[in-house]
Symmetry: C2
């Protein structure tokens, strides 16, 4: 089961009702955090959704404070939670060029000696995203490993970040006031199911032949009959795809790599009537999200990074005159026919099920 | 009225029940923040004790993350709250050498353009506090003014920080794992009350003579009688004194400047039986606090920076087997006869009244 836990769904700054940006993708025992605004470690404890020690990868979309000021503190708390030094624990951090220096400064100055290793892989922005970005490179924390710089791949049309046996992660460029990245998590395809009963019916003895035909091999039985794998193996099960697009006023550079995504998590800071000011601040409206979702054939949408102005009926005290996230959902549904939900702190979405 | 609002009273890291270190002193319309752990801005909103925009001075005791990781985010939120650029608003920040660079790094990297001016006055540690402390000095945020370096004053036996018509603030050195400072807030003495009725009785006409005698001047009436001010002016009203001593395992360097304090706010991370480990980590026990309080003649004590292990009956769900802050209060009372209270998030202490 792959699911997404929303830890902070607010825009700009944290409040007691809605934290600064942070969400976690959980799949096959891995916990991967996307963004880490101030107070994310407290949200994790409060919502009891994950344990900090489980986090193995952290992806930072961009370097605005509401997306990363919680990172030094989170690492310190993971460190204290581990208690004893662990050479096995490694936290890999992916984020825009400059993040490594910030973490080094914060951890050095606070003399935070971590009990685990961490490494920062920096995503190098494209010229179109930002000119004149010049972060430096001071001494580093002894617990920090050697991260690599990740450049844009012209062929793949993305920044390839990492992959394991279950999942591949790539970044795409988003238009915002500073370099901002969207992340696409693609589950690996799973081979089709083998029809054991049919093989037995055909007189195939249980054993290695089963494995060979499942692996796509044509096999010849002793009596000369030839069995083709497509007759005994079901269709390949396509992996799920989750796209996380935080701060942006234009997602179109990510259109190709987001194609056919199962779940689109997209920022929607303000409602449609605020479009001009919203775009000027580098943000999106529901209509923009719906248009993008239709273009990429997204199956369902979760709206997040919502202006603190829009209260969520489940987590706020809503007065009759208050604006709520229902406005954002309704406006999205006007242009998009699939399921839509506005995130709140504590929401857990199962990627494999309907919203 | 002078009062102290406790925003975060925990040790090491924030939890949903107890935030990382932060407290505010309020007096005559000023709001001065001491320490700013991660999540302080959220605590301010949650506890509704102060408005972020009221804060005019911030004092950071030392550079451990649980005392300062909330500072960049707090400044950004104040900035957003002000909405329009204000040339009148100035936030003065006092903290150990290195704080200026950290803030510059965090604000520069996050491209946070503030709507107000701020300035960092750095306290330069003594050699006895730390050897080999070498923070650098990168470019700064255009909204940052020119702060000064504050060196130890051998005559006054303290670092003189600032004063206004109501209050003087000095820092003293605390022993900890990194340079740590305690802050002493001393209200200015107020002149004694003029006994108007007695003057009238003596036939003094209302007018300038009243002011002259109040200012300590001897006056001669027309009939030749000489009036001495001590006969008509009450005793000088001593100002209150609040000492805030966060992380330390030895406060004795501050003994003189804390003398006769009205309110001693002192860390008490662990109970007495943990003394060895507690001191090894640079922290204090109730017995150590009580001994210091007696030596300086403190009138009352608030314990703070409590290990998250000790639950507070007012703000936690306490199970029968849980350790509570009552242990710390009881142990302090064994050696100190004045009022003692363990702080919790949201506690407001009126300095002029008994605890």
């Amino acid at each position: 089961e792959m699911n997404v836990a929303f830890l902070g769904t607010g825009s700009g700054y944290p409040t007691p009702c809605r934290g600064a940006s942070a969400l976690a993708i959980r799949y096959e025992g891995d916990v991967w955090l996307i963004d880490c605004g101030e107070g994310t470690q407290t949200q994790i404890m409060k919502l009891k959704t994950i344990r900090p020690g489980q986090i193995s990868k952290i992806f930072i979309t961009h370097l605005h404070g509401d997306h990363m000021f919680g990172l030094p503190g989170l690492l310190c708390t993971i460190s204290m939670a581990l208690k004893t030094v662990s050479n096995l624990k490694l936290v890999e951090i992916y984020g825009p060029l400059g993040l490594r220096r910030f973490l080094r400064e914060a951890l050095n100055l606070s003399r935070s000696v971590l009990t685990f290793k961490y490494v920062v892989h920096e995503i190098v922005p494209n010229r179109i995203q930002y000119d004149g970005w010049k972060p430096g490179d001071p001494d580093w924390n002894i617990e920090e490993g050697f991260g690599h710089a990740i450049f844009y791949d012209e062929v793949m049309k993305c920044w390839p970040l990492c992959s394991n046996k279950n999942m591949t992660v790539v970044a795409g460029g988003l238009k915002h006031r500073i370099p901002s990245f969207g992340f696409v998590f693609t589950e690996c395809d799973k081979p089709g199911k083998l029809n054991n009963a049919k093989l037995i019916e055909y007189g195939v003895p249980k054993g290695p032949l089963f494995g060979r035909i499942k692996n796509g091999e044509e096999i010849t039985l002793e009596d000369g009959r030839i069995l083709k794998p497509e007759d005994f193996v079901g269709p390949v099960q396509s992996g799920k795809k989750v796209a996380v697009l935080q701060d942006t006023c234009d997602s179109w550079h990510m259109r190709e790599i987001c194609n056919n995504c199962t779940l689109l998590i997209h920022e929607a800071t303000n409602e449609n009537c605020q479009q001009d000011r919203c775009i000027a601040n580098g943000h999106s409206t529901p209509a923009m999200v719906a248009q993008f979702a239709n273009a990429i054939g997204a199956q369902k949408i979760v709206l997040t990074h919502v202006s603190q102005r829009y209260k969520h009926p489940l987590t706020h005290d809503v007065e009759p005159d208050d604006q709520t996230t229902e406005i954002l959902e309704t406006e999205t549904r006007t242009d998009f026919s699939g399921p839509v939900i506005a995130a709140y702190d504590g929401l857990v979405v199962n990627v494999n099920k309907k919203v």
